[in-house]
């Protein structure tokens, strides 16, 4: 009974609540729409500002102005045909490092004996005992002997190429006993032997390299040693 009596009230309440609900939804939608419009307006204003600033920067950086600066201060000019490269390969050739003259072998040989001055004397003692190794070492000893009187290594290097041999002979003779003298002869033979074993006197310390002296020189050195001995 009571429920039946209140039915219209319930209905009225429900309808009122529904209406209120609808209104709230609509209100929410409207406020969202308003927010969206605000954002859109902001975007539009930003775009307008962008346009304004672009116009300003375009006016300040106009080509005629840039040209004027270029003529007065920067002075850039159009590239010539030669400044264009075909591709990466041609570009790479432009940055090729400068070719340095190859260091000749005798220079290395000459520098070595200066350091080995002290041990050489010991090695010379060993040299006669072992046949192949000793000869290569003994060759080095004699090269070193050139440099000792000259003192400055740079000078000896140059001297060793041309007048080295004649100077070396008396120097070696003065500093060392007959062993050294014999060794100087062996040096000559060692340097010359890759070319011709018989013409020992003519080429002096010309093409002597450490490798030739130690490796290639050793097997061929045998007959010459026998000659000099």
């Amino acid at each position: 009974m009571s429920a039946r009596g209140f039915a219209p009230v319930f209905w009225a309440g429900t309808v009122a609540a529904a209406a209120l609900g609808f209104y709230l939804v609509s209100l929410r939608v409207a406020s969202e729409r308003a927010a969206l419009e605000d954002v859109e307006t902001e975007i539009a204003m930003a775009q307008r500002d962008i346009r304004l600033l672009q116009t300003e920067i375009g006016t300040r950086g106009r080509l005629a102005q840039l040209e004027r600066w270029n003529v007065r201060f920067i002075r850039l000019s159009a590239p010539t045909a030669d400044q264009f490269v075909e591709g990466g390969f041609q570009l790479a050739t432009l940055v090729k490092p400068e070719a340095k003259p190859a260091i000749a072998a005798p220079v290395i040989l000459a520098s070595a004996p200066v350091e080995q001055d002290a041990p050489q004397s010991k090695l010379t003692g060993e040299a006669p005992t072992s046949a192949p190794a000793s000869r290569s070492v003994s060759e080095m000893v004699h090269v070193a002997s050139y440099s000792v009187p000259d003192k400055t290594p740079a000078v000896t290097q140059r001297l060793a190429i041309k007048p080295g041999a004649p100077v070396a002979k008396p120097a070696a003779g003065a500093s060392r006993p007959p062993k050294a003298l014999a060794a100087t002869k062996s040096v000559k033979t060692a340097t010359a032997d890759p070319l011709a074993p018989l013409q020992t006197a003519k080429p002096k310390a010309k093409g002597s390299s450490p490798k030739a002296a130690s490796g290639a020189g050793s097997p061929k050195a045998k007959p010459k040693d026998s000659v000099t001995d």
Partner: protein, 566 residues
């Protein structure tokens, strides 16, 4: 309202038996009910309207119009989208004398300090006059607007109004044109497309020109340099894409600042490139040779003509600046720009065919381009006899615009097809103009080596830009009223082995200088500027310099006799 109602309601109890009163009561009820219905109806309408507004209506804070970004007048941009003309909001300072409340003498003094273009007395007179409104300054700088605003005088009106701004100032001024103070196009594109620029439907989209700002700037700079160096009174230049007819750059000097077009001289406002017509001289010779080749008269570059030192025709004498005095080939005629040789070729061609070809190339009509400033060309007209045919053959007696000439060279070197020049970028929205064949493809091909020869060995040596294979022809014409005054021009195409761009440069009345050894012919003044311009713009246009490429010079070189002097 409420007070009498209870009385009316109370009374019926007492007056029930009185018929008259009953009647009155009934009427009262009726009226009451009617009034109530009216009120209820009004309230219902308001309530419904409220519901409707709540559901579908706009809210109070809506900002209508702020979203509208379409400018008052459409933009004009170059082919890369760089703005060339824009409408911005500018400040306008106005004066309303009736609203002024402060001391008018003080105000006049302050105004004279801020805007010294008028003196204090003039401002005071304006303030005391009875007029409603004066413009004090249009397009005022912001600093001045701030200073005026700080005066705090209600009689000074600060307003914003749309104003046309050309950010690149004088760049391509004659192409873009300018507007008057009310925003109506007065020249150039502004005038030609005035309707489209103002149409609310279409003004949101900018008009894209075929002009390239960078190329335009290079052309203007180099041409301006040549003009001032040789003390010329004017200059014009056109650069075109020969395949589409797009004008990449077009200038007329002296320059004009469209931001203040009214301050420019009439000389500066004159567009020499499309409105001015000039006898362009020897630059016409390639057309004569091409016409003769197409007509079957010249069959080879080695065809010989007698080239005496002077040629007497119909009581007139034709001279050469570089007379041969012997038989010379077509290649040699072109190389040293021989009037005598060209006149003979033109004579063989005949007036009828010559006129037909010129008509096909558009040389007898106004130039076909969007601008409205187009000059009427001058030709012998009805009086086109033998001597006229001969002089037209080497470019005298016919006056056309530099744009005509560029368009003609484009026709000659794009394979022989005439296409109208256009100032709008050719793309999906705007296709290239409809072409018509004028020369055969073979003729077009053979002309390449002929014009290259002029630059490698002939009169146009100074126009060469190493690696860019420039081919072209010099032209020097004397002015009709004073033969010592000249119009020098150079029309050229590059790269000649695969032509892509044509450029025409012209100097009006150049003077000789010390380093030209007293010469004022085209080979000495405009040709070097041409070479410099090509070297500058070709890389921008995507032309690779290559010193090992040349057009087929075997077409012409066998027919050129080495001279003793060379």
């Amino acid at each position: 309202m409420n007070a009498p109602t209870p009385a009316l309601v109370a009374r019926p109890e007492r007056l029930r038996l009185v018929g008259q009163r009953r009647q009155i009561l009934a009427v009262m009820h009726q009226r009451l009910m009617f009034g109530m219905l009216v009120y209820a109806g009004i309230i219902a309408i308001i309530a419904l309207r409220l519901v409707y507004l709540a559901a579908f209506g706009d809210h109070a804070g809506r900002k209508g119009g702020a979203l509208d970004l379409t400018p008052e007048r459409g933009d004009i941009v170059d082919r890369d989208g760089q703005a060339l003309a824009r409408t911005i909001d500018a400040w306008t300072i106005g004066l309303q004398p009736a609203k002024v409340i402060g001391n008018k003498l003080d105000l006049a003094r302050k105004l004279a300090e801020l805007m010294p273009e008028k003196d204090e007395a003039a401002y005071l007179q304006m303030l005391r006059s009875g007029r409603n409104f004066y413009y004090l300054r249009r397009r005022a700088p912001p600093g001045l607007v701030a200073a005026i605003n700080s005066l705090g005088e209600p009689g000074l009106a600060l307003e914003r109004e749309p104003d046309r701004l050309y950010p690149q100032t004088s760049l391509a001024a004659h192409v873009i044109g300018y507007t008057d103070i009310d925003g109506k196009g007065n020249a150039g594109i502004e005038r030609a497309f005035d309707q489209q620029l103002l149409d609310p439907e279409r003004r949101g989209e900018p008009i894209t020109l075929s002009i390239s700002s960078k190329v335009q700037q290079a052309l203007e700079h180099e041409l301006g340099g040549a003009m001032s160096h040789f003390s010329a009174i004017g200059a014009a230049g056109v650069i075109m894409d020969i395949h589409t007819g797009e004008v990449l750059a077009m200038t007329s000097l002296p320059q004009l600042n469209p931001n203040a077009a009214g301050q420019g001289t009439p000389e500066a406002r004159f567009n020499r490139a499309t409105l001015g017509v000039y006898e362009l001289g020897s630059t016409f010779k390639p057309f004569t040779v091409a016409m003769a080749m197409d007509a079957g008269i010249v069959k080879s570059m080695g065809q010989m003509y007698s080239c005496p030192r002077q040629l007497h025709v119909a009581g007139r004498t034709i001279n050469d600046t570089h007379p041969y005095g012997r038989a010379c080939s077509v290649a040699e005629i072109m190389k040293e720009s021989s009037n005598i040789g060209t006149a003979q070729i033109a004579d063989q061609l005949g007036a009828k065919r010559q006129r037909e070809f010129l008509k096909q190339m558009g040389f007898l009509d106004k130039v076909e381009v969007e601008l409205l400033e187009r000059g009427r060309t001058l030709s012998p007209g009805a009086n086109w006899n033998q001597i006229e045919t001969m002089t037209v053959g080497y470019g005298h007696g016919i006056a056309v615009t530099p744009l005509h000439l560029a368009s003609g060279y484009a026709t000659l070197f794009n394979g022989g097809i005439y296409r109208p020049a256009t100032l709008l970028k050719v793309d999906r929205n705007h296709p290239a103009g409809k072409g018509r064949r004028v020369f055969s493809e073979d003729t077009s091909y053979k002309m390449r080596s002929l014009l290259r020869l002029v630059v490698t060995d002939g009169t146009g040596k100074k126009a060469d830009a190493p690696g860019y294979r420039v081919g072209g022809k010099t032209g020097t014409a004397e002015k009709y009223h004073n033969r010592s005054l000249k119009v020098t021009s150079f029309a050229g195409v590059f790269p000649m082995d695969e032509p892509r761009f044509v450029m025409v440069m012209m100097l009006d009345e150049p003077k000789a200088t010390a380093e030209t050894f007293g010469f004022s012919t085209a080979g000495w003044n405009i040709a070097p500027a041409f070479g410099r311009t090509v070297a500058r713009i070709a890389p921008m246009l995507g032309v690779r310099p290559d010193k090992r490429r040349e057009p087929n010079m075997a077409e012409v070189l066998p027919y050129v006799q080495k001279e003793k002097g060379h």
